[in-house]
């Protein structure tokens, strides 16, 4: 029986992790501070979970300890954000390269300098090629639901890759919402203890992390990419099982009024809520607008996204991180590449917004839609990349 409780995004994640029967949480609670691990340590100290909590001395050691734990066959979780994720960078590649199904919540916040503690996607985008499955959520409910599903996706034998569940810093991490939670037994049924094939069981000695030079390294990386290609299929399977349990419908992406739309906005995370609200209003005015929100950002769902946007006359892609010197922001570059792969052409305007936690208002979004409608009418993209809400 589901019950609805008031939880902030961070609390929703911590509560999900508690129900997922994790063996080890290794985390550093700072750079910047993460409530998720504070809450989890409370569960440990109150005897509500049977897990080991290693309060390490840095995020680098957090991910190092997570990799060590994961290699034993344990179920492992950590959480971080911003500078902490940047400090982990080296270890992110090792976690995926050694095929460790670690789940990590990232309460996305910007990167220094100048130092700033507020939300944007600079942290995870800085590590977007690290071989992790990357999920972005829109609200606390999704944070809860995806955290539980993330373990099942990561630990699937066809995948064995780490997953990051990204929730917008402050906007989601610190905002209280009603979250429909599952009973512990329901989560346990959905997510049985992890089964592991290759573990560092000292009684069956194996060597992990050997030196692979020009003769083998490439094959390892090719296999890792192959595992990434299995992700879409497994995500869909896990979503179906989760829906059967909860009635919550998930997928690779979520659309709003996109089928007959002339123009659309494509975005990640909590901004989708604002975009949808504005789209609803514009629809009432007879403007044919829609929204596409990606849940799965890595692997990039090329086929699904092209199918969702190919009939639009214009698209605004929102990036909440700056790819300095690049032709587009990360999400837009990926979208353009996806269209190119399917030989589709679409008028696209890339809008970079919300850096360092700058608010994105419904009126900002309304102007974006109007601009897209103008592009659809004229067929001319005046500015391929724009910075929205900045003084210049």
């Amino acid at each position: 029986m589901a019950k609805i409780v008031g939880l902030a995004g961070d609390e929703a994640v911590a509560y999900a992790v508690k129900q997922c029967n994790v063996d080890v949480v290794a985390a550093y609670p700072i750079t910047p501070q993460t409530i998720i691990v504070e809450l989890f340590s409370r569960y440990v100290h109150d005897g509500e979970v049977n897990s080991e909590y290693i309060c390490v001395e840095s995020e680098h050691s957090a991910m190092s300890a997570c990799v060590g734990s994961s290699l034993t066959g344990a179920r492992v979780f950590t959480a971080t954000a911003s500078q902490g994720l940047a400090l982990m960078h080296e270890m992110l590649y090792i976690a995926s390269g050694l095929r460790c199904p670690i789940v990590m919540a990232v309460a996305n916040r910007t990167l220094s300098a100048p130092i700033n503690i507020h939300g944007d996607h600079s942290d995870m985008m800085g590590s977007r090629d690290c071989g992790w499955i990357q999920i972005y959520v829109e609200n606390a409910q999704e944070a809860y639901d995806w955290t539980i599903q993330a373990f099942k996706i990561a630990e699937d034998m066809d995948i064995l890759l780490p997953v990051s569940v990204n929730l917008d810093g402050f906007i989601l991490s610190h905002s209280l919402e009603g979250v429909k939670t599952l009973e512990d037994e329901e989560v346990m049924r959905f997510l049985p203890p992890r089964k592991s094939v290759y573990s560092i069981d000292p009684e069956k000695p194996i060597t992990v992390g050997a030196l692979c030079l020009t003769d083998y390294y490439f094959e390892f990386k090719r296999q890792q990419e192959e595992a990434m290609r299995n992700v879409s299929r497994i995500v869909k399977k896990v979503n179906e099982e989760y829906e059967a349990l909860t009635g919550e419908e998930y997928g690779i992406l979520e659309t709003f009024e996109i089928e007959d739309a002339d123009v659309g906005i494509l975005c990640l995370g909590s901004t989708a809520g604002t975009a949808r609200q504005v789209a609803r209003k514009l629809r009432e005015q007879g403007k044919k607008v829609g929204v596409v929100k990606l849940w799965l950002y890595r692997p990039f769902p090329t086929e699904e996204i092209v199918a969702a946007i190919e009939n639009l006359k214009a698209l605004v892609v929102l990036d909440r991180a700056c790819s300095f010197g690049a032709p587009y922001g990360a999400l837009c570059s990926d979208t353009v590449s996806a269209l190119h792969q399917f030989d589709k052409k679409l008028n696209i305007s890339n809008m970079v917004y919300g850096l360092g936690g700058r608010d994105i208002t419904p009126s900002n979004v309304e102007s974006m839609f109007n601009e897209a409608l103008e592009i659809a009418k004229t067929g001319v993209v005046k500015e391929p990349i724009k910075f929205v809400g900045v003084r210049e």
């Binding site: 063996d23 080890v24 290794a26 049977n50 897990s51 080991e52 290693i54 309060c55 390490v56 001395e57 840095s58 680098h60 050691s61 190092s64 300890a65 997570c66 990799v67 060590g68 734990s69 994961s70 290699l71 034993t72 066959g73 344990a74 492992v76 080296e90 270890m91 090792i94 050694l98 203890p193 560092i200 069981d201 000292p202 009684e203 069956k204 000695p205 194996i206 060597t207 992990v208 992390g209 050997a210 030196l211 692979c212 030079l213 083998y216």
Partner: protein, 306 residues
């Protein structure tokens, strides 16, 4: 101390690895695994002992062995230890697991000191062994925090103005014991039974233990391959590398050196110190000797033998 006939004949560190002839670290790896008491996981930091013993698809390790990165052997060991604790509590594991972290001086004194300090403070049950060849030998003999004063490396060359490394070596044992852990020891592979006994003791300690073992490196120290053990002994007999242990806070001198040889006996066989024998740098050798004498008195005092 362990006797030769008590050592297992089984070689858990298999031959065929690519370590250099005369490499101290290879000898140390072999001796280390002579001391294990049962199922063991070795966590190796990036370094000579890692790259030369596990070139895929080969391995020299008949224990489970893990390498993750350079600076985090202690953090990885902590993760493994915690995982076994958790899965044992849940009834999925019911055996003893011993965890040994193995790292060079670069991975310990410099880039790995933070992870080591954190793991010691948290009290994980593992043995950390630093095999100290006194520079980044794997990558081409660069200076580390363990490189001795006066030694020439590729980043502290024997210049005409600055003769090798100007700074002095960190005191690793003191840093470790400052964490209040139960067991810290120094060792030399020339005194094999002392070393193997200490490894076993470190494994048996319930909590973290650290062994700092000197590891002669023919390539970096620039000495003949066949002289490695001789140098490992001279390091002790010149009091350059005192051998002692600290058990529950109590210092004990394990190898007494009543008639020390002058430090020249240790350094003259090594190319890394050859520039110190030029007349203009004669004072450097005196300074090294002075430091050795001071350090020895300090350790004797700590051991209650002064």
């Amino acid at each position: 101390m362990v006797k030769l006939q008590e050592l297992p004949t089984e070689e858990m560190f298999a031959p065929g690895h690519r370590m250099c002839a005369g490499c101290g670290a290879a000898i140390i790896c072999r001796m280390t695994l002579k001391a294990i008491r049962g199922p063991t996981i070795v966590v190796s930091a990036t370094g000579c002992a890692e790259v030369a013993t596990t070139i895929y698809p080969y391995t020299s390790w008949r224990t489970s062995w893990v390498h993750i990165a350079f600076e985090n052997a202690a953090a990885v060991a902590a993760g493994i230890e915690a995982a076994y604790k958790a899965i044992a509590r849940k009834g999925a594991w019911d055996k003893q697991v011993d965890i040994i972290a193995l790292a060079g001086d670069g991975g310990t004194f410099d880039i790995g000191i933070q992870a080591l300090s954190g793991a010691l403070e948290r009290g994980h049950d593992f043995l950390y062994i630093c095999y100290d060849n006194e520079a980044y030998m794997n990558t081409g003999i660069q200076r580390s925090g363990a490189t001795p004063h006066g030694a020439a490396t590729t980043t502290s060359p024997a210049g005409t103005k600055i003769p090798g490394k100007p700074e002095w070596k960190k005191d690793l044992a003191a840093i470790c014991i400052a964490h209040g852990i139960e067991y810290v020891a120094t060792a030399s592979p020339a005194y094999w039974n002392d070393y193997i006994t200490k490894v076993r003791k470190g494994i048996e300690v319930n909590g973290p233990a650290v062994i700092h073992v000197l590891s002669p490196c023919p390539l970096g120290w620039r000495h003949n391959s066949e002289d490695s053990i001789k140098l490992a002994r001279l390091a002790v007999q010149t009091r350059y590398f005192p051998i002692y242990e600290i058990e529950k806070g109590k210092y004990k001198l394990n190898i007494r050196v009543y008639k020390p040889l002058p430090v020249e006996e240790f350094i003259k066989a090594q190319g890394r110190f050859s520039h110190l024998f030029k007349p203009e740098f004669a004072k450097e050798v005196e300074a090294i000797q002075h430091r050795i004498d001071e350090n020895w008195s300090r350790i004797l005092q700590l051991c209650g033998e002064s």
